[in-house]
Amino acid sequence: MNKNMSLFSKKNIVGTASAIAISLAGLGTSAYAGVNEAKKWVDGEFKKSAISRDAQMQEMKWFIDAAKPFAGKTYSVVSETITTHEYESQVLTKAFEEITGIKIKHDLIGEGDVIEKLQTQMQTGRSIYDMYINDSDLIGTHYRYGKVVSLNDFMYGEGKDVTSPTIDVFDYIGRSFTTGPDGKLYQLPDQQFANLYWFRADWFARPELKRQFKAKYGYELGVPVNWSAYEDIANFFTNDVKNLDGKKVYGHMDYGKKDPSLGWRFTDAWLSMAGAGSKGIPNGLPVDEWGIRVDNCQPVGASVERGGAANGPAAIYALTKYRDWFKYAPPAAKGMTFGESGPVPAQGQIAQQIFWYTAFTADMLKPGSAVVNDDGTPKWRMAPSPHGPYWEKGMKLGYQDAGSWTMLKSSPLEGRKAAWLYAQFITSKTVAVQKFLTGLTPIRESTLQSKHVADVAHKLGGLVEFYKSPARVSWTPTGTNVPDYPKLAQLWWKNVALAMTGEQSPTGAMNNLAKEMDKILGRLERVGMDKCSPKLNPKRSQSYWLNQPGSPKPKIANEKPQGQTVAYNDLLKAWQEGRAQ
């Protein structure tokens, strides 16, 4: 373990926290401006918390003291626009200002725009924001370019005076996503969501539909374990059931507009769900879900010819299924983006969705929605994602990401310190439970274990059960194999879009993608990176690599084995027992 990380041992944190608590108690409360404001917020908005009121007040008192050098000044941070960040921008900035005197301008922009700003600051070296909240998918980029401050170094170095003794890094459930190959923390999780299977539990429970399905396919209608079952169920609802309660229904939902978000659909997890990568958590080693192979930490190629899997049989199979399954989706799905397609299941015509982001949970629970019962409980459930025929136990099964605080070296130190205080405040144990209840994007283990969360779990369709389960580690974000996320991610959507229309076959599209990825890796090798720079393998025949053990995997004869389903309650049990499925 890294030296700095060892300082974050639980023992140390408890010790430091106690020392700070004692010293704070000695100083007395009246010495602090903002104490009354803190009381107001703790007794009001932050009443529901994983820690006691006293512990909350102690935490707030530390913030008041640490913020003094920055009081009265304004700093700016930026994030994408989702419910959690809206809450931060509108409510938590107000709480932070009242308590600490620091004004934070928390800008909300599109996710792509956040990356654009971050990339601009990285490329120009000129500060745009004091800190950014961006997805942990960029961990490989941040680590290699050397433009991002290691939070370990910051917390024990120049930011020591503004690092809360109660931060409790080990309580963040997504910290492994934001840790570089050197074991250092590069980002602090702020909100977290997963990508799961979503289905209408009420329809799946209808006896007449269960009978009809079993008669046709020979197995029970239930949560699909593999893609064969998913496809059978999709076909069943779209072409056999057709209408339910007077409404046209569809057995599948997805999105296919030529748009950057089409790339996320693939790079998040699709190839790993099909089984294209290697075994290993979080991302598969040596080949990850992007199909990029690494040797130690150096990317050596994405094409099968260089040992990667981006154009291997499993990847081609994954793209083919994505394209073909649109016949089970509403006709408009092909023209939708990620944002447009997300709310569609809530309209009540979709029976299941293989690739559904839990970030949409709050939208799916709105009273009066077609997918919510009169008592506020959901008609739907979320379950583990089914896997393709190339998938093996021990592989990543889905996507989970943590929108995380990122500090660039090019931002001024004062701004970084003030923004770091805000970052800790809005992820603190004092605030985290209420933030979860608002945006349903958990980041702390203590939040998940709190009574307040247990009280609402039955209304969240399996979200809490998923996050409480140790099985959640099978859902991971883009990992450290990807050396330049912005450049490489852009290659996916334009190639996938060509396969959608038949302008390219899935094989042609993936071959082109792999070639383009290799080219970017080659350019990064030429220009050189700070750490773990790519070093392309020499080209060899596909058969050489396909005959090696592991990924890239050779084509299997039967890509549509017998469909398999399980009852939802059995899956919940599996989660409780710490199994992925």
Binding site: M122, K258, K334, G335, L491
Partner: protein, 290 residues
């Protein structure tokens, strides 16, 4: 009397030269500088010479986008110029109808590009859009998100809806500028409606039409927002034009070197056509004098 040359007069154009240098020449030189490098960051760049230019010129995606761009721009001209003239001829020449028709016709011109794209994106959707649903109800298997021809048809209709009013208004102003004496003479000669159009109105509209052609060609050649919002350039590459190709490289991928080389090639293409149209305009002017 012989004029004395005064070179000090050159100082008078110095402010203009400085302004142009800051607004055009310096940025252009920056782009030239980028175009010969592979840039990943301020400290991560290598000189690559003409590599990006050679690659761009060989790029089949660029060739496809360029071809689509020409087809689109010429289709726009082929539709908007005759229709613009037709509408202008039908518009009332006096009375309250003049103001009413001018305001009504000009309305689409007031709507921003991205709003135009969004309006049509929803209007043409087959599930919730009035236009898309109507087409389907009429038995037409219309879906602009999946079918090449439907996507092209929709982008062209959007451009017509948005910019045809400009052509119509230009033509209308050209028609209004024709002195009544011409019509009176035609009336005395007993000229038919067609002959009035062919031998009086069309020749008199020539200068206005050259401006309309120039504006619409240049605008349509740079089209970006409407297809970006409507189709994202799809389905496949069906509505991917040059600007989208460039934006994806420059803004999406942050691939500054190749994007700079592409920008320069794009700039040269536009410059070439500006020159051709400028020459055409000059020729038309001379023809009128004769």
């Amino acid at each position: 009397m012989e004029k004395t040359p005064n070179n000090k007069a050159w100082f008078l154009i110095l402010p203009v030269f400085i302004m142009v240098a800051f607004s055009a020449i310096i940025p252009l030189m920056t782009v030239v500088n980028y175009s010969v490098q592979d840039i990943f960051g301020p400290d991560q760049r290598v000189f690559v010479g003409l590599e990006w230019f050679k690659e761009t010129l060989r790029d089949s995606e660029l060739h496809g986008a360029l071809l689509r761009q020409f087809i689109f721009s010429f289709s726009v001209l082929a539709l908007e110029i005759p229709l613009g003239i037709g509408i202008a001829l039908l518009m009332p020449k006096k009375g309250w109808g003049v103001s009413a028709s001018l305001v009504t016709i000009a309305l689409p011109l007031l709507i921003p590009w991205n709003v135009v794209g969004t309006i049509w994106q929803i209007f043409a959707r087959v599930d919730i859009g009035l236009g898309g649903a109507f087409m389907n109800a009429m038995g037409v298997d219309y879906n602009y998100t999946a079918n090449y021809m439907d996507a092209w048809f929709t982008v062209l209709v959007i451009d017509l809806w948005h910019w045809l009013p400009l052509v119509a208004l230009l033509c209308y102003s050209g028609l209004k500028a024709i002195p009544d004496a011409f019509y009176q003479a035609a009336d005395i000669d007993g000229a038919s409606r067609w002959k009035v159009f062919r031998f009086i109105q069309l020749p008199k509209l020539r200068s206005v039409l050259v401006i309309a052609v120039l504006l619409r060609f240049m605008d349509s050649f740079m089209i970006y927002t409407e297809p970006f919002v409507l189709t994202g350039g799809g389905p496949g590459n069906a509505t991917t034009f040059l600007s989208q190709f460039l934006a994806q490289k420059a803004v999406g991928q942050f691939d500054i070197g190749p994007a700079a080389a592409f920008s320069l090639i794009y700039f040269l293409i536009i410059l070439l056509f500006c020159f051709i149209f400028y020459k055409m305009m000059m020729t038309v002017g001379k023809g009128e004098k004769k």
